[in-house]
Subunit: 460 residues, 4 copies
Amino acid sequence: MCGLFGISNHPEASRMAYFGLYAQQHRGQESAGIAAHDETGIHAHTGMGLVPDVFDEAALNRLTGSAAIGHVRYSTTGSSALRNAQPLVVHIRGLNLALAHNGNLTNAAALRRELEEQGSIFQTNSDSETFVHLIAHGMKSAASLEEAIRAACARVQGAYSLVILAEGRLIAIRDPHGFHPLALGRAEKSWVVASETCALDLLEAEYIRDIDPGEMLIISGDNLNSQKLDGAGSVPIRQCIFELVYFARPDSRIFGEEVYTCRKNMGLELAKEAPSEAQLTMPFPDSGIYAAIGYSQGTGIPYEHALIRNHYVGRTFIQPSQGMRSFGVRVKLNPVRSVISGRHICVIDDSVVRGTTMRTRVGKLREHGAKIVDARISCPPVRFPCFYGVNFSTAEELTAARHPLSELPRLLNLDSLCYLSIEGLLRTVKEPDHYCLACFNGSYPTPVPSCSGCKACGQA
Amino acid sequence: MCGLFGISNHPEASRMAYFGLYAQQHRGQESAGIAAHDETGIHAHTGMGLVPDVFDEAALNRLTGSAAIGHVRYSTTGSSALRNAQPLVVHIRGLNLALAHNGNLTNAAALRRELEEQGSIFQTNSDSETFVHLIAHGMKSAASLEEAIRAACARVQGAYSLVILAEGRLIAIRDPHGFHPLALGRAEKSWVVASETCALDLLEAEYIRDIDPGEMLIISGDNLNSQKLDGAGSVPIRQCIFELVYFARPDSRIFGEEVYTCRKNMGLELAKEAPSEAQLTMPFPDSGIYAAIGYSQGTGIPYEHALIRNHYVGRTFIQPSQGMRSFGVRVKLNPVRSVISGRHICVIDDSVVRGTTMRTRVGKLREHGAKIVDARISCPPVRFPCFYGVNFSTAEELTAARHPLSELPRLLNLDSLCYLSIEGLLRTVKEPDHYCLACFNGSYPTPVPSCSGCKACGQA
Amino acid sequence: MCGLFGISNHPEASRMAYFGLYAQQHRGQESAGIAAHDETGIHAHTGMGLVPDVFDEAALNRLTGSAAIGHVRYSTTGSSALRNAQPLVVHIRGLNLALAHNGNLTNAAALRRELEEQGSIFQTNSDSETFVHLIAHGMKSAASLEEAIRAACARVQGAYSLVILAEGRLIAIRDPHGFHPLALGRAEKSWVVASETCALDLLEAEYIRDIDPGEMLIISGDNLNSQKLDGAGSVPIRQCIFELVYFARPDSRIFGEEVYTCRKNMGLELAKEAPSEAQLTMPFPDSGIYAAIGYSQGTGIPYEHALIRNHYVGRTFIQPSQGMRSFGVRVKLNPVRSVISGRHICVIDDSVVRGTTMRTRVGKLREHGAKIVDARISCPPVRFPCFYGVNFSTAEELTAARHPLSELPRLLNLDSLCYLSIEGLLRTVKEPDHYCLACFNGSYPTPVPSCSGCKACGQA
Amino acid sequence: MCGLFGISNHPEASRMAYFGLYAQQHRGQESAGIAAHDETGIHAHTGMGLVPDVFDEAALNRLTGSAAIGHVRYSTTGSSALRNAQPLVVHIRGLNLALAHNGNLTNAAALRRELEEQGSIFQTNSDSETFVHLIAHGMKSAASLEEAIRAACARVQGAYSLVILAEGRLIAIRDPHGFHPLALGRAEKSWVVASETCALDLLEAEYIRDIDPGEMLIISGDNLNSQKLDGAGSVPIRQCIFELVYFARPDSRIFGEEVYTCRKNMGLELAKEAPSEAQLTMPFPDSGIYAAIGYSQGTGIPYEHALIRNHYVGRTFIQPSQGMRSFGVRVKLNPVRSVISGRHICVIDDSVVRGTTMRTRVGKLREHGAKIVDARISCPPVRFPCFYGVNFSTAEELTAARHPLSELPRLLNLDSLCYLSIEGLLRTVKEPDHYCLACFNGSYPTPVPSCSGCKACGQA
């Protein structure tokens, strides 16, 4: 997953982009970048790590100009990761263009082979670079940059929210399926686009509307020009339900839904589908807070916050001593013994991300004296890989799902385990037909790459 | 406030100290330090910043030996702050001694003048150094190190939990009033002492008991020898109630109380003393979670978690743009509009730390559409400075308290404001007579420095 | 100017490349990079700054494989400098290729326009990228990679020494004019190529021979295959004489010449052409040591080393106080008053790099009491810009040269100033017809870009 | 060895101190520190490493005030090295005092025991701290700070140049033997003191005179007050001849001698005492330049500079490959084969610092084809440890000297080896009776510690 930001017509555009990315840091911690446009062209700065690690005052001050786009990228591995940091900045026949992409294309490999046959050289491993080569080749025949961009979009399949900076214009695009969110806001004289509205809140920008699935919005200074991509309106809308379940910040509004309310409603649905006799219910860990509140209100089981987070846990640690077992779990979260000991507990999580982690944490509850431990998960089991941009910690996730559900409680050291049903999940959204459920039911909205044991799909 | 740790008889004593401090990072973020004892003497490493910033593998590996003590120090100001980092390590007549101190002495200035008259040179501004000079002078006549330490303790007044490393022994001391906590634990063959039990949990050490007020516990290898300080048992026990209200981690057990339960009970008492007609209650911010859960259960008002924290907020920022008002508040916490808008809300906090921050946050709720905002505070108003080690953000705190309570709602932009009463607060603890309440009622357990407009007391 | 290195058939190829670049750090301090080839493809690491700043053990350890190339780049400016760091690594139709380039092309702009018309996207500002696009396009019709490379070389004009890594082979190329040096060496079972032999010395590799002008040497494991580029043997050899005068390390052997001996001979020639009545002669500063030794031996004037260098001068300074004049000169070099005072001095430099610096330093000698100051320069005046890779600190250099020589002594505060003649310079080399003298006489071996006031040529 | 600096009456005193230390970096690379005095007291900043690594603009800007002292410290080992960084800053009865020390005391251990008996606590291992404790105890009875300082000096034995900052005054002291240098200079309205005059040159301060042996100079604003220490004039002057031989910068003037001229004269004396039949003479390495010039002029043997230094060698390296022998020597210095091959060479060094290094370098010359290698050393063999502040790389140095001189050529792979005689060395100075020659002849000017196998003297 990644986060996008764009702004036009602002005297400190790159500074605004910095904060727009800062608010969306949860969408990607591997790398960050900003490109800004001034009269001398487009200047960019990218780096590995969190937004405040990548940018200092000096770096921002070099990014002058009144329009800017930014990108945060989700953690992957590989030594060439810096090359994959976005925005990509290229020179196409004297034209300066910067592009940032959220999502994954499903026909990138084929397009790349075709472009390389024509002499194109790829600098990165990322499918995002496909766009700029398609645009460059399109410019040979297209009447305008917009036309070349539209032609490029017509060639690709899969998920793409895009922000593009070129010729002083800011262009925001959402693919016809609308897989990932992109919102439009207004801050005084500036137009702002962002993957999530929490970025608009931080900048005190007013939320105007979402970019529509299949829309290309061209922002030039103060003016908006909306165009439709090929396929807009004719292909079904397939928004990523996992954005609502897990990925987006609870204070954001995406796909016309309030994320907080949606998650609380998942808890309420779960309360109906899978009640418990527990004496207390608790989020497990913090990401389950909103569903746990709903579950508590739906079942009447008292809510407790009995897993205490160490707020100072950072990314680098000294290695623990030999004898310190399950240290990685304990250092982040410590259960409150007096609340747990001797009780029947129902823990709420939004997904079983890692079976091993869940198992270790449940063991910790039992060591602290928990008598019975039920688990309720606020989404259905994830059974299929995602080709559209969600990095499930795949192996574990699917491993857990590939076991018969009936075996999972024993594997996870639980007394009971229930997942929310697909139907229950869809009851929490206004437009149940507009979502991609492929990770739950394998029904992919686009052709997907045939699988040959790649790491991405976990079917090795 | 500061945090202490000590361990004996462990092959990786300094590594254990690292994690013992890590778990207590909330007690001090300015500096950290560890001293370890091996056959060549005592070696120490201290630095500014968080524990993981101060220590790397190389630094820890140099701190060999089977006994170690550690210290984290609360943020203060001043360019010579590194000199004030602890443990202090000194050489007294061929004897190596390391000492770490939590608390504040009330007669430090007078003792320092006296020691300087005798030719002693102070390296730091901190009152903790007084101990080592008193011990050094005491060694001229004392029969043993223990006797010199006991004599030093007999000279000082105020709050002091101490861990000392000397001659291969680990010594843990709590002043006769018992102002600050200090716990004893057992990890396999090692004895462990720590300000809070959350450090024992992280090390999988078993909690044994508290160090008693007025106790000096001498740990030599596997043996424990407990002695009484002058005044032990004869002066009244006066434990810092603010440790329970605010300072300690909710998963710790101090003064014989479970902090989580205590704070939840404060919320239950507050529900009795100051109910509200609100449609929802929420912590404001996260530190109020436990009292808010109690308040919700006591009043039946639904609990919501409607202030979303940006988990990536660190310490260094790019400056926001000129036009970004109240940025400092927004960047950390964003209210969820859909939960708040049009509602009557009751926010719960553990103290009114900064009037200005409370006011700004309440304003933010109103901007997001809150109709009525009540506030309930889970402790009484703080009216008097603390001389025993709690750094109230003094001016604001007392400013708020110095206004008539009746004016505060207007000043803070609230519809109503209620504090928990002293009596209510004391109902949440088992031994109500054993607490220092000086910050609420001005009744100091020891003589305090006469005030001449110093920054410490805010009475300028 | 830049420095190149390549090695094949070595178990620690990238580590050898590190040291091969280290020895050639004088050829470029802006950025450094290494690309290595193992069975999974080509992996590269590049960064801004000196070789030891760019690489640590971890970075080197990721560059596994038995063949590697490296590059150091001369200091230029521009925020996108990191993108210009080499080796360039690209994917051409499933083929991984890394390339590093020393020199400047004179028809790069025209080729770039042509390639962009065909849809190629350039990632850097550097003319080196032209090669990879030409190769990529060549691959559409070429029978092999070698053929595509030869076709690319046939299209470009100007100076290029190249090292290329592809398909496990190491390819070393020197343009038909042979502008810049490239040497072949042997270290046990490995073949080594480097811009200068000082790199071979550090690795204890034996110098075998130079790569010939117009030669493409293909090294595959232990085998050498030598091919001729178009133009090899038919265009005149034009080696850069400034490599001998200034750029190369004095312990290197390039173009069949020992650099140390060459420079000393320049001093001997200068002694014949322009003797002096001085009481002592001294290098001014250290780069003039070798010519000064020759001048002293030729004239009999005693040699002194009377300008003392501060060996700890690094790149970052605190700003000096307001009143500290000519600080930048003094902090690096301090004249020895007792040697200089009251004396007639003859200073020797290899070029008048900056008139202002020379003037300031001479002033410093006069402040220290020098009575008469003659200067002798061991090369002719530089009057024309270089288009082949030598960055003269152009403006000053040419400014000095554009004044009548008769005015320069006054401008530089000298009593006399003599340059070595072109004829004298050529007497120090074995093959006087094989050198490019364009910077002295404007006779360029290739068509050069028509000048429109660009920074590169200084003719604004 | 260490370097001192002091300045009074300057608006940017600490900035001047920065550059004063910068110019004296060769006197100590382990740590650096500056203390400055303003109306709020004395503020100091110290750190490990080179001056530019220790200070940045922010650190300097905090050191406000018109008087400052600074210190650079020679490399030693030990984890507590930061504590030993100077200036020491202490509080003595409300008085702020900063002190920096160059030299070593010979009765420090006894004084320390005595002071500890009286209750003093030492923070460092360094003998310099003895001064501040003596001053603190002296203040009990002394009429003034000056009197307490004079009393402290009367108690200590050994070498001490001191700069002290207290009560707004700058105090400069040289012990009665005058072991180490200390110069007084004038920069506009400021008085400046520095170990070496090269620091005055950098600041464009005029050299006024040396601080005399046994002088205490009290500088208060613009006024100078000179006092005599006990013993001044009655104990013999014993200046460290090694400062002239090796330690001081060649552009400095110390002990009334020009260091450059002195060293060149050592070469001239060596030419008389130990001529050679060599075809060329060369410094081996750069530190021998001045003696080599003298030797060349005295013998008529041509001077060459045939060992080329890599100017980019820093302190951190990647580990070389397994097969890279004698890498440490080669990476710094590379001989020029064409100059050396087949020749009879005479190398000049100022001391045989490490037998192993000399041997390796000579081997390198032979590998490059040198036929005969003579060595001439511009000082006598070092046979006795120094107790006054010179860190000989003791073991090697004395090992070499303990072998019969007749065996050394074989051990060092030389054809001949000659040292300058003590008499010859003394002919290069104006006052031959005023020098300490203990390292050559064992005649110590003060009682020295009885030796019990300590590392310092190498007699284990």
